[in-house]
């Protein structure tokens, strides 16, 4: 099993940390992982994206131009990454702020209204975990106990009190997915 994922959105949406928690959970389950961010001026308030690979085998290229899954959180990222999903692959996006919805016919498409829900529940800090929860519901790459360990490892000790909120957000995400196009 190898899953190649791009996560993309605005800087500040928790794109990189979502990827890091996923990757660290993979390490805890003794999988091979890589986490390759965009870096530099791009990070400063602009778009941010990270390529995460989780695999049972040694990972070859950490840099890719085609993905099994794209998790998309803003319009620029939709414009850039919709076309990079492999045929038959998966696209998950938060429709908040999206004006041009995906049009591919050869991929699976789900929406997840994570920003709205996070706002309503006062959980905007863990918005990214709601999205991750949705993804893990569709692709259970790592088991929940390893997600817990991944959170412990990824978050600095002073934020460990937020782990229950993070796990709650992951649960909430599972119920928020809306299938828009599911291939047979």
């Amino acid at each position: 099993m190898t899953e190649e994922i791009i996560i993309a959105g605005f800087g500040g949406q928790g794109v990189l940390s979502m990827g890091k928690i996923l990757a660290y959970s993979g390490v805890m389950q003794n999988k091979e992982v890589s986490w390759m961010p965009s870096y530099g001026p791009e990070m400063r308030g602009g778009t941010a994206n990270v390529t995460v690979i989780v695999s049972d085998e040694r990972i070859s290229s950490p840099i890719l131009n085609a993905f099994d899954t794209a998790i998309i959180l803003n319009q620029q990222s939709m414009d850039k990454f919709e076309k990079t999903v492999k045929p038959g692959g998966l696209l998950i996006y938060d429709p908040n702020g999206i004006t041009h919805h995906p049009t591919r016919k050869d991929i699976n498409i789900y929406s997840i209204e994570a920003a709205d829900e996070a706002g309503k529940l006062g959980l905007s800090k863990v918005f990214n975990m709601i999205v991750l929860g949705g993804f893990l519901h569709l692709k259970p790459l790592v088991a929940p106990e390893f997600i817990h360990k991944g959170l412990e490892k990824s978050l600095p000790a002073r934020h460990h009190k937020l782990i229950p909120d993070n796990e709650r957000a992951i649960d909430i995400g599972k119920g928020l997915l809306k299938p828009l196009q599911v291939l047979n």
Binding site: G26, E32, G40, I59, S61, I63, N65
Partner: protein
Amino acid sequence: MGELRLMKGNEAVAEAAIRAGCDGYFGYPITPQSEIMEYLMSEKPYETTGMVVLQAESEVASINMLYGGAGTGKRVMTSSSSPGISLMQEGISYMAGAELPALLVNVVRGGPGLGTIQPSQADYFQSVKGGGHGDYKIIVLAPASVQEMADFAKLGFELAFKYRTPVMIQSDGAIGQMMEKVELFDPIPRRTEEELIAQCPWAATGKPKNRDHIIITSLDLDPAGQERVNLKLQAKYRQIEEKEVLFEEISCEDAEYVFVAFGLSARICQKSIDMARAQGIKVGLFRPITLYPFPTKQIAALAKKVKGMLVVEMNAGQMIEDVKLSAGCSVKIEHYGRFGGIIPAPDEVVRALEKQIIGG
């Protein structure tokens, strides 16, 4: 099994340096490697192992602090990225001349000039051919993973002290910035003063009554003396070339074609191999791990077995010169490169193989 962590390449090399018994780090911030000093400052090794971490006023000062520390037998390191490494060349030449051990990390970015902060392999010539003045070489290790960033910090110090020479880890912005699973080796305690003095009788540590005073210098004004210095260095380099070559071969057993690539490019080529083999193209990868000493003999042997070699680099064609010198004219050798921070995609590399080697 050692401790498992998810780390950036930059963090891994910093953590590994602490564990490898490093005595001092001296550096200056530059993207994309600033996490190395940031990590060291936040880990506070000066409170645990006693390792000194100092932010210098420039790369020029950093490398000369390294010269000072190394001259006293201490295990010292610096890190920088391409423009900063250019500034250090004078000091590297002095250290090679004075035969001082040190670990240098170059997290390469695109050039020339201020260039870009994105990953590149355009410093191959500078690292491998001796970027400063005079006839000298430094050992150059090219990690292709975060794990190797950690492992090569330890290996780098070992080689540096074995041969009394600067050793460079030449990685790139992508390997510095990306996170992967790392298995960390157990910490090696720093040497005590007595151990250091016993292990490094050449080092300037304060002259006791029972030995001559020690002079650390790269100067010998007498041409005959300076020629002797050079001959000694050259003899050392021949020994390094004989004994310290490291390389990796992937899927080469049945290969009709090979990619020759180091560092990040080699990782990309591994994916290209999967893609090409799915199309029925029998291709393998030869990855030099030591860029100096270069795996000359191994490439010469491989060249006799295959129909063509594609050298894939994130530069305009640098390592290909060494590949051609090694292989001679026995086989078709072409270069595929992207520059300025652009990373070639795996499918792009397969197309280049088809066009330049198989079809060409």
